[in-house]
C-alpha cells in the first residue's frame, strides 16, 4: 500500500510515486521538488532521496494544502471555484461561496475538470503537418501568417470560435478585427441555447436572458428545460428550488413537461411526458389558459391566441389546466422555466407567462456572451464560405466541429479543403485529424484569463500550476494574430484591467484574485416594454405538423455533455443519474413503445433519420414520452491519442442532420440481430416496496409521523452498549433536497482517491464508488415515480461488518467512526457480506496501479491509495476530521459545528448532506436527527446507523 504523495510528515515535499519520466522531469522544473519512492513492501529499500526546495516558494508549507480562487467556464459562462493544491499540484476543486453561480457548490463537471488537467492523452506540443514544432517556431509561424494576411485586410482569414464571455478575449478580438477588417469570425456551439434570447428579442426588441429566483417561487413550471443538469445557473437554481422543499407549509410545487426523464422530472410533483413536437403546443396552450384565467388584466392579443393544432391529448390538457390554475393562484410567486429549451415558441410562451405571473421572481438580464446567438448555424455559414473557396486560413478554437457538426453538412471534407487550418484543442479529436496546425489548449487550472457568470459577474482565472505542456489559451492564441507579438495571458489580462480598475488597480486586482470575482461587476436587471402584439403574432403562426411515427429527441449528456468530457474517466465511470449507465449511452424508449416494437433491454437497433443511420442498444426507460426516441450526444467520440482504447458508446451526432438540429423529426428503428452488454452500475430498478427511500406527501405528514417513528425506533440489545463520551460524528441526508446530480459521487472519488476500474470491471460488478446515488422507479412506466437515494457507509454504532473481521481491520473509533484500516486488511470480504447496506468496495485487482502516472498527480496526499486485495469504503472523510482536529487541538479549542465538511457535503448544490457531531446538541446534525422526517435505513437490524435520512416531502398537484 502506498500513499499518493508520500505523506508521513517528513516526506510531504515529494511529488507522487510512479510519475512517468517525462512528467517527472517537467515537475522537477515546475515544483523544484521530486521524489523517488522506495519500493513499498521491500523491507530494506535503497537510500531514499528527499529533495527539498532550493528556494522555498512564497506561502508554501510543504504538506499543507493551499487554496486559490479561480473559475471554470462551460459554454463560456462560469462557475466560481476554489482549487486545492499541494506543493503547486492541484488535487481538488470546490465551490466558491462568494460566487453567484456556485454559492459554495459545484457540479460533477467542475469536480471532474481536474482530471482533464492530468489526462495522459493531452496534446503536448504544437503539431505542424506530420511533425511538431517548438513554441518559438510556432509564434514565428503565426507572425508570418499575420503578415501574409495583412495586405488584403485579412480577407480569407476565418475564425471558428467557442462561445465565450471573457472580456479580454473580446478585447483581443476587437484588436484582431481592427488589424484584419475583412476577417470573418463564427462562434459555434453544437447545441443552440439562444432560443430564449431570440424570444425576448421578439417580445422586447432586445436580447435578454431570464434570471429566475426560485426561492421566491411557490409554483414552478418547467418546460423541456432540465435546469438542474444544464446551463450556467444550474447550481444556483437547484439550491434555490431545494430551499423551498423541506418545510411542508412553505413548499413549492414543480410541474414538468419534458420528453426524457431528467433530474428535474424526477423531482417533479407533476410530470407530463411529451414528445418534442408537443412541447410548443403545451407551452402556448398554457399561455392561453393562463391568459384566459387572468381575464381582463392581460393583453387582449394573448386572450385571442388560437387553440393548439393538432389539439393536445387528454392527459396533456389536464396537466395544462392544473398547472395554469396553480400558476394563476400564485400570481407574483410563480415561474415558468424554459432555460434549456431550443424551441422559440416554448421560450416565447414562457417569457410571456413570466411577464404575466412571475413578478419579483423573475428578472431580465443582458446576455453575457460575446456572441449570444452562437449556435450550430455558424458552422453552416463557414462550410458554405469554404465551398465558395473564400477561406484561406481558419483558426478553430471551437470544440471538435468535425465530430459535433451536422451529419449532412460534410464538415470533415469541407475543413479538409482549408489551406491553413489551425486548431486549438485539448485532445487529438476528430477535427485534429484534418487540422494542419494543432495547438495544445491550456487547461483552466494552468491559465490566466477572465470570464463572466450568468449575471455578468467577472471572475479572474488564475493558474495553480505552470502549463504542463507547450500549450496556449484561446486568449493567447488570438493574441498571436491580434498583436504583432503574441502576449502571455497574464500580460493581456493586466493590460485590459489596469485601465478599467484605475487608480487602486493593484489592491482591487489582489482582492479579485482572492475572492474569485470582481465585486460589483454584475449586470443590473432591465425592465423593457413588451410588444404583446409581436408576441401574439409569433405565437399565432401555425407550427409545423408533427412528424409521423417515432420522434427523435437528441439530448446533451448529463455526464460528458456533447463530448467535451469523452475522455474523462471520473465522469465516464460515474453512473448516469437515471439510466445508471457507466461508460455507455443507450437509445431510450418508453417500455410500452419498446414492447410494441418487440424491443427489450440491450437489443440492438438501427436508428435512421433523414437517411442517416447509427446502430444503438436499446434501454426501455420508464417515464420516457411514448413514441419518442431519446439518444444522448457526446459518445462514440474518437480520441486519436488513445487509439488502443475502446470508443465508448455510439455517436448520436451521426443522425443529427441540420433538420434534426432545428426541430422535431421522425426517427425509424430497425431491429438488428444480437444483443449488447451495458455497463450498468445498478441493475434492479425497483425498491421492492422496502422502506429504503422513504417519501411522504406534505399534506399527509401528520398522519405519517407514526410510520416514520416506527422506522427510527430503537430495539433492545442484550449486551451493554458503548457510551461515546466525546465527539459523536454523524450525518444527515435530506431526501427532499437530493436531486441526484451525482456531484457528490465524483467529489468523493476526487477526495478519496477512489480508483477507476473501467467498463469491463463495472460489468462484473466491481465498481468502487464509496458513495452512490441509487435510483428507484415505482408506479406506471409512463408516469413513474422516481426516487433518488444517496447511499454510503452508514457508520453503524453496532456495525455488523466489524465483529466478523478476523484481524481487526475494520473497527470502531471512540467517536463512532467505522474505521477501515487498509493496511491491516487481508481481504476476507466477510465484512462486505455482512454489511446490510452493501456499501463496501473491494480491490479485486490492483486498480490503483492501473491509474496513469500523470493522473496519479491528482491523488489527495491525505488519503492512502489502496492496494490489491483490500476492502475500502466511505470514511466520513476522516482525513478532514483529523486535519481539523489537529488545527483545533493546537489552538486549544473544541471542534465547532460546521468546522468539518465532508467532500460530498461540500459539493452538494442543494445542501442535502450535513455532517457534524451529535455531542453538540444545537448542532445542525443533532437538529436534523431530531427532525420528524428522520428515519434510519434498515434500523430494525439494530445497526444504530450514524447516518440518518430525512424522508422526502412531495407536494402533489391538485386535480392530477
Amino acid at each position: 500500500m502506498v500513499s499518493p504523495t508520500k505523506t508521513c510528515g517528513c516526506e510531504s515535499e515529494l511529488v507522487p510515486l510512479r510519475v512517468g519520466p517525462l512528467s517527472r522531469r517537467r515537475f522537477l522544473q515546475i515544483l523544484g521538488a521530486a521524489g523517488v519512492a522506495g519500493l513499498p513492501g521491500c523491507y530494506r529499500p535503497p537510500p531514499d532521496p528527499v529533495a527539498p526546495y532550493a528556494r522555498m516558494p512564497e506561502g508554501v508549507t510543504p504538506g499543507n494544502a493551499q487554496h486559490y480562487a479561480s473559475a471554470l467556464a462551460f459554454d463560456g459562462v462560469t462557475t466560481g471555484v476554489v482549487v486545492t493544491a499541494y506543493e503547486g499540484r492541484p488535487t481538488k476543486i470546490e465551490g466558491n461561496t462568494l460566487h453567484p453561480a456556485s454559492l459554495g457548490a459545484t457540479g460533477a463537471w467542475e469536480q471532474a475538470a481536474l482530471i482533464d488537467l492530468y489526462d495522459p492523452a493531452r496534446l503536448t506540443s504544437v503539431g505542424l503537418g506530420r511533425g511538431g514544432i517548438g513554441r518559438a517556431e510556432f509564434l514565428e509561424h503565426m507572425r508570418a501568417l499575420a503578415k501574409r494576411h495583412e495586405p488584403d485586410g485579412g480577407a480569407g482569414l476565418h475564425l471558428l470560435l467557442a462561445p465565450s464571455s471573457s472580456p479580454s478575449v473580446g478585447a483581443t478580438l476587437e484588436r484582431l478585427r481592427a488589424r484584419f477588417p475583412k476577417s470573418t469570425s463564427h462562434t459555434y456551439r453544437p447545441l443552440d441555447r439562444s432560443a430564449g434570447l431570440r424570444a425576448a428579442r421578439t417580445a422586447t426588441g432586445k436580447l435578454l436572458a431570464t434570471r429566475a429566483h426560485l426561492d421566491r417561487a411557490d409554483v414552478v413550471v418547467a418546460l423541456d428545460s432540465d435546469f438542474m443538469s444544464f446551463g450556467p445557473e444550474r447550481l444556483r437554481l437547484s439550491h434555490e428550488w431545494a430551499d423551498r422543499r423541506t418545510v411542508a407549509k412553505s413548499m413549492n410545487r414543480l410541474y414538468v413537461a419534458e420528453t426524457q426523464v431528467s433530474l428535474m422530472g424526477a423531482m417533479a410533483d407533476a410530470r407530463l411526458p411529451a414528445k418534442p413536437s408537443e412541447l410548443p403546443r403545451i407551452a402556448s396552450e398554457l399561455l392561453r389558459a393562463v391568459a384566459g384565467a387572468l381575464g381582463a388584466s392581460t393583453p387582449a392579443e394573448l386572450r385571442a391566441l388560437p387553440a393548439a393544432n393538432p389539439p393536445l391529448p387528454e392527459f396533456a390538457r389536464a396537466f395544462v389546466q392544473a398547472s395554469a390554475r396553480d400558476l394563476v393562484a400564485h400570481r407574483g410567486r410563480a415561474v415558468v422555466l424554459a432555460n434549456e429549451s431550443a424551441d422559440e415558441t416554448v421560450q416565447l410562451a414562457a417569457f410571456a407567462l413570466n411577464q404575466l405571473l412571475a413578478g419579483a421572481a423573475v428578472e431580465l438580464l443582458p446576455p453575457v456572451e460575446l456572441e449570444p446567438l452562437a449556435g450550430p448555424g455558424a458552422l453552416t455559414d463557414l462550410v458554405e464560405a469554404i465551398g465558395r473557396g473564400e477561406v484561406k486560413t481558419l483558426l478553430c478554437t471551437a470544440f471538435d466541429p468535425v465530430y459535433t457538426g451536422p451529419a449532412d453538412l460534410g464538415v470533415r471534407d469541407a475543413l479538409a479543403k482549408v489551406p491553413e487550418l489551425i486548431q486549438l484543442a485539448h485532445l487529438a479529436d476528430e477535427t485534429t485529424a484534418v487540422a494542419g496546425v494543432r495547438v495544445p489548449r491550456s487547461h483552466p487550472l494552468e491559465s490566466w484569463g477572465d470570464v463572466r457568470a450568468f449575471d455578468g459577474t467577472v471572475s479572474l482565472v488564475q493558474p495553480l500550476i505552470a502549463p504542463l505542456y507547450d500549450s496556449f489559451t484561446e486568449l493567447e492564441l488570438l493574441s498571436t494574430l491580434a498583436d504583432d507579438v503574441g502576449h502571455t495571458g497574464y500580460a493581456l489580462l493586466r493590460g485590459l484591467w489596469q485601465p478599467k480598475l484605475g487608480a487602486e488597480f493593484e489592491s482591487r486586482w489582489r482582492v479579485a484574485l482572492q475572492d474569485g470575482l470582481l465585486a460589483g461587476s454584475a449586470n443590473a436587471p432591465v425592465a423593457p416594454n413588451v410588444d404583446w402584439a409581436a408576441v401574439a403574432g409569433a405565437l399565432s403562426r401555425p407550427l409545423p405538423p408533427p412528424p409521423e411515427g417515432l420522434e427523435l429527441h437528441l439530448a446533451e449528456d448529463r455526464k460528458i455533455r456533447t463530448g467535451e468530457f469523452t475522455h474523462n474517466p471520473w465522469l465516464q465511470e460515474c453512473p448516469d443519474a437515471l439510466t445508471q449507465l457507466a461508460w455507455d449511452n443507450a437509445l431510450l424508449l418508453n417500455p410500452k413503445t419498446a414492447n410494441s416494437l418487440g424491443l427489450e433491454l440491450a437489443s440492438m437497433v438501427e436508428l435512421s433519420v433523414d437517411g442517416k443511420k447509427v446502430v444503438a442498444p436499446v434501454m426501455p426507460m420508464p417515464g420516457q414520452a411514448e413514441g419518442a426516441v431519446t439518444v444522448h450526444l457526446g459518445y462514440g467520440h474518437t480520441i486519436a491519442a488513445n487509439a488502443n482504447e475502446r470508443v465508448v458508446g455510439f455517436n448520436a451526432f451521426q443522425v443529427r442532420t441540420r433538420r434534426a438540429a432545428s426541430g422535431p423529426v421522425a426517427a425509424t428503428l430497425r431491429k438488428l440481430e444480437g444483443g449488447y452488454r451495458f455497463g450498468l452500475i445498478q441493475i434492479e430498478g425497483s425498491d421492492q416496496g422496502r422502506p429504503i427511500s422513504v417519501e411522504v406527501e406534505a399534506s399527509e405528514l401528520p398522519e405519517k409521523l407514526a410510520d416514520l417513528a416506527h422506522l427510527r425506533q430503537e430495539h433492545p440489545v442484550i449486551f451493554p452498549r458503548y457510551a461515546y463520551p466525546g465527539y459523536r460524528w454523524a450525518m444527515a441526508i435530506d431526501l427532499s433536497r437530493c436531486i441526484g446530480c451525482q456531484a457528490c459521487v465524483v467529489a468523493c472519488r476526487a477526495e478519496n482517491n477512489v480508483p477507476i476500474v473501467g467498463r469491463d470491471e463495472v460489468m462484473r460488478g466491481r465498481e468502487m464508488h464509496w458513495l452512490r446515488v441509487d435510483r428507484y422507479f415505482a408506479g406506471d412506466v409512463s408516469a413513474p415515480h422516481v426516487r433518488f437515494h444517496p447511499l454510503m457507509c452508514q457508520h453503524c454504532e453496532d456495525a455488523p461488518c466489524e465483529y466478523v473481521c478476523p484481524v481487526n481491520a475494520t473497527v470502531h473509533s471512540d467517536e463512532g467512526l467505522n474505521e477501515m484500516v487498509y493496511n491491516r486488511c487481508i481481504g476476507t470480504r466477510y465484512c462486505s457480506n455482512n454489511c446490510p447496506y452493501k456499501v463496501r468496495r473491494f480491490n479485486f485487482h490492483a486498480y490503483a496501479d492501473q491509474t496513469p502516472s500523470t493522473e496519479q498527480l491528482a491523488y489527495n496526499p491525505e488519503v492512502t491509495v489502496r492496494s490489491r486485495g483490500v476492502m475500502e469504503k466511505c470514511s466520513y472523510c476522516v482525513q478532514r476530521i483529523e486535519r481539523v482536529r489537529i488545527d483545533r487541538e493546537i489552538a486549544g479549542e473544541m471542534i465547532r459545528d460546521g468546522d468539518i465538511q465532508t467532500a460530498c457535503q461540500q459539493v452538494c448544490p442543494t445542501e442535502a448532506i450535513k455532517f457534524g457531531s451529535l455531542s453538540d446538541a444545537e448542532g445542525v446534525v443533532s437538529t436534523l436527527h431530531a427532525d420528524v422526517r428522520r428515519y434510519d435505513l434498515l434500523g430494525e437490524l439494530n445497526t444504530f446507523p450514524r447516518t440518518a435520512y430525512l424522508a422526502r416531502l412531495t407536494n402533489r398537484a391538485k386535480g392530477l
Binding site: 425497483s686 484481524v807 487481508i826 470480504r829 492496494s867 437490524l941
Partner: protein
C-alpha cells in the same frame, strides 16, 4: 475366498471366507507389496494433470488477485467458500466412522475406518487451501494467528473466521494424530514382513519400533480410545463453527439457528457418500471384498438414509421458519432461491440430497455397487449445490435492491474446483500405494473375536 461377480455385494458377513491371521495379514498388505497395476497409473495420470491445473489456477489467483474469480459485490463469497465447506464436510464422515462408531463399538467400522480417515485428512487439506487462496492478500494469512507482532495488534476473537482457523487446523492435526496412532501396529507389521531392507528400515522408522507387548497394547488402547473421545466432539464442533460463519451474520438465508446441526448432518451426508465412492472401487481393485463386504456398503447406505432425513429436516425448517417468521427480506431471499435464476440448483439439491437416498430403502439397490456408487456421486453433487445455494443465493439478492447482481463463475474458479479433486485423488492414490488401506491388527482382532463368538 471366492471373489464375487463385480457389481454386487450380497454377503452380510463382516469377514468373508475361511481366514487366519496369516491369510488376513497377507491379503490386507498385498496392496503395499505388489507393484502398482495399470489401473493405478490410469488414475494417477489424470489426477496429476488436474493437480497441475489446480496449482496453475492458484498461481493466477495469487499473482493477479481475486479478480480472476467471478466474485463481485454483493457476491463477495462464492466458489472459494462453497468448495471449502464442501470439502471440509466430506472430511467429517471419516472421523465419525473411525471415532464415533468406535465409541459405539460398531464392529463394521473396522475395515473401512483407515480409508475413511485418509479421506478426512486429504479432504481437510483440500478444504484448507481455499480460505487461504480466498484472501485478498494471502501473503498476510499469518495475521489470522495470535503471535506477538511489533504492531501490538491481535486477531479479533469475536469473528467466526478466527474460530475457523483454530477449528480447521486443530481438526487437521488431531485427525493426522488419530490416523497415525491407529496405523502404528500395522506399520510394525509391514516392517516385520518387508521383503526389502530399505522397506524394513522405512516402515521400521515409521512404526517407531512398535512392539506388541501387553504393556504397549494397554497404552495404545487407552490413547486410541481417548483420541476417539476427543475427535468425536471435535468433528461436531468443526462444522458447527463453519456454520457459524453464516449463522452469526445478519444476512437473510445465513442468519439461521438451525445451521449447526443442519451443517453437521449435511457434512456427514456428503462424507458417507464420499466413503462409498472410494470404498466401492477400492475393494474391487485391491481385492478386499472379503473384508469390505456388502454389510459395510449397506450399513453406509443406511446411514445415508438417516442423514438424508436430517438434511431434509433442515430444508423443511428453513422453509417453515421463513414462512412462520415472515420477515420480508427472508421471504424474498427464500423466494429468490426457489424461483429465481438459480432455482434449478435448488431443485438439484433437493433431488440429490433427499430423494435419491430414499432408493437405499431397497435391499436390492443397496447391494448393487454400481447403483450405490452413482447414488453417492449424486449425493456429493447435491451437497455441493446445497453450499452454493446457501452461500451465493443468499448474497446475490439481499437487503438493498440497488446492489443486487447475478453471479457466474470464471475459468479460474472451475480450475480450482476440479483441480482440488485431482489433488485429492492424487493424495489418496499415494495412500493406497504405500500404506495399508485396511487396519490389519484390528482385522485380526475382529476375526479373533468373531471366532470366539462362533465358538
Amino acid at each position: 475366498m471366492e471373489p464375487q461377480a463385480t457389481g454386487t455385494a450380497k454377503s452380510d458377513a463382516l469377514i468373508e471366507g475361511e481366514q487366519s491371521n496369516l491369510s488376513l495379514h497377507q491379503s490386507l498388505l498385498r496392496p503395499v507389496w505388489q507393484p502398482p497395476g495399470i489401473r493405478f497409473w490410469a488414475l494417477m495420470g489424470p489426477a496429476t494433470v488436474l493437480t497441475g491445473i489446480y496449482f496453475y489456477s492458484a498461481f493466477l489467483t495469487v499473482t493477479r488477485g481475486i479478480g480472476e474469480w467471478g466474485n463481485h459485490i454483493p457476491v463477495a463469497w462464492a466458489f472459494g467458500i462453497v468448495n471449502f465447506v464442501w470439502w471440509i464436510g466430506i472430511g467429517h464422515a471419516g472421523t465419525l466412522i473411525s471415532a464415533i462408531l468406535l465409541l459405539f463399538l460398531q464392529k463394521w467400522r473396522t475395515s473401512i475406518n483407515r480409508i475413511a480417515e485418509a479421506m478426512t485428512i486429504f479432504a481437510v487439506m483440500c478444504a484448507g487451501t481455499f480460505p487461504l487462496l480466498h484472501l485478498g492478500r494471502p501473503w498476510y494469512f499469518y495475521w489470522l494467528l495470535p503471535y506477538p507482532d511489533t504492531m501490538h495488534v491481535w486477531p479479533q476473537f469475536k469473528s467466526p473466521l478466527t474460530w475457523d482457523v483454530f477449528a480447521v487446523s486443530t481438526y487437521l492435526i488431531v485427525s493426522i494424530i488419530f490416523w497415525y496412532v491407529g496405523m502404528v501396529p500395522d506399520l510394525a507389521a509391514l516392517r516385520d514382513s518387508s521383503p526389502k531392507k530399505y522397506q524394513r528400515a522405512l516402515y521400521g522408522a515409521l512404526s517407531l519400533g512398535w512392539r506388541g507387548s501387553t504393556h504397549n497394547w494397554r497404552q495404545y488402547q487407552s490413547v486410541y480410545l481417548l483420541l476417539a473421545g476427543l475427535a468425536t466432539p471435535l468433528v461436531l464442533s468443526v462444522h458447527t463453527i463453519v456454520s457459524f460463519d453464516f449463522a452469526v451474520s445478519i444476512l437473510p438465508g445465513w442468519h439461521e439457528t438451525v445451521f449447526p446441526p443442519y451443517f453437521v448432518a449435511g457434512a456427514l451426508h456428503s462424507g458417507f457418500a464420499m466413503v462409498l465412492m472410494l470404498v466401492i472401487p477400492v475393494r474391487w481393485a485391491l481385492r478386499l471384498e472379503h473384508v469390505i463386504t456388502g454389510r459395510h456398503l449397506s450399513a453406509l447406505a443406511k446411514l445415508a438414509i438417516a442423514t438424508s432425513w436430517l438434511v431434509g429436516y433442515g430444508y423443511a425448517m428453513e422453509h417453515f421458519i421463513n414462512r412462520y417468521g415472515g420477515d420480508q427480506y427472508d421471504v424474498h431471499e427464500y423466494a429468490a432461491r426457489v424461483t429465481g435464476h438459480y432455482a434449478w440448483i435448488w431443485a438439484l439439491m433437493i433431488t440429490c440430497n433427499v430423494l435419491v437416498p430414499q432408493f437405499f430403502w431397497s435391499k436390492k439397490l443397496r447391494h448393487n455397487t454400481w447403483f450405490l456408487w452413482f447414488a453417492a456421486l449424486l449425493i456429493n453433487v447435491g451437497m455441493w449445490c446445497e453450499r452454493f445455494v446457501i452461500v451465493v443465493l443468499s448474497l446475490y439478492q439481499d437487503f438493498i435492491p440497488s446492489h443486487w447482481r447475478d453471479y457466474a463463475p470464471r475459468l479460474v474458479d472451475l480450475g480450482l474446483f476440479f483441480g482440488s479433486m485431482g489433488l485429492f485423488t492424487l493424495l489418496f492414490l499415494l495412500f493406497l500405494r504405500y500404506l495399508p488401506p485396511v487396519p490389519v491388527s484390528d482385522m485380526k482382532e475382529l476375526h479373533h473375536e468373531l471366532k470366539k463368538e462362533a465358538a
